[in-house]
Amino acid sequence: MTSQSRVDHPPRIADWLLSLFALTGSDTIIGDLHEEFSLQLSKSGSATARRWYWRQTLKTVAHLVRISARTHPWLTAFAVLAGFLLRRILAPLIDPAMFALLERIQLFDRHFDAYRFLASTGIDLAHLVAFLMVGFVVAFVATEAEIVATTILAMIYAAMAIFASAYVVSKTVDTAMLWRLTWYFADSCAIVVAGVMVRSQRITHMSRPSNT
């Protein structure tokens, strides 16, 4: 696709976002926005049309989030709580499990660099995978509100990480702690990624019967 034809089309990421958040009828909404985008394009040019499209998309997504939270408030709250509790159960098991594994394969004596990597970054990666699993569970429990539920849980963890880091840095004056924030934010992102994956899978299943 040429760059000219790309600017003449509505942003694909915006369409993807809309299809992700709309419980039903995303095709009609996207169709309406495409139609108006063509009008904006011929009237005001590509840049204005794309700005208009993004503004409409973000406002629409905000509406869809509100509707989703309002439609399933208890289920969303339950899914978030379940994810929070699951994470509390899993978290203390990860470090001992990783060290037991390293002990078992006796990496300390044979490949010290690999041991050092797995004992530090490896544990962080294991936590990331645990967050991804928590995200999957939350998304499955929340059914149609999977994006809202996983986003709420991710925001709770991100807020906790920011407050905890600020507290530790203010007490110890050790700014190295701030670098840990990148991992904590990655953990939060993993939850949302799981929600997006489950949602995409659900959209594929929902659209399948209409194609036949």
């Binding site: 009609t28 169709g31 629409t60």
Partner: protein, 110 residues
Amino acid sequence: MADRGYLGEFEHIILLALLRLEDRAYGVTVRQEIEQRTRREVSIGAVYATLDRLEAKGYVTSYLGDPTPERGGRSKRFFRVTANGLTAASRTHRAFQSMAEGLRFTRSFA
């Protein structure tokens, strides 16, 4: 069961737009009609959220039109006001008129 509910402000505006547009009422035209007449920017998400709510209340019905190329092969969803919707719009309008009767808006808000 007799429905004695009143419409919310935006629900009322949407129903009036549908009545104006008659058989041309779908997302794009409804949004544009409201923007032109009220001079406020409305998102397509707000329009559909309200239309879905009105449909659940039985005030509007919808049906899908034919797919068109400028919409990327997607169908238009047309809306029509039901008899209950017309009654609700009329009741809400009368309530507004009754509440506004005798008030001098030009002096108070100009």
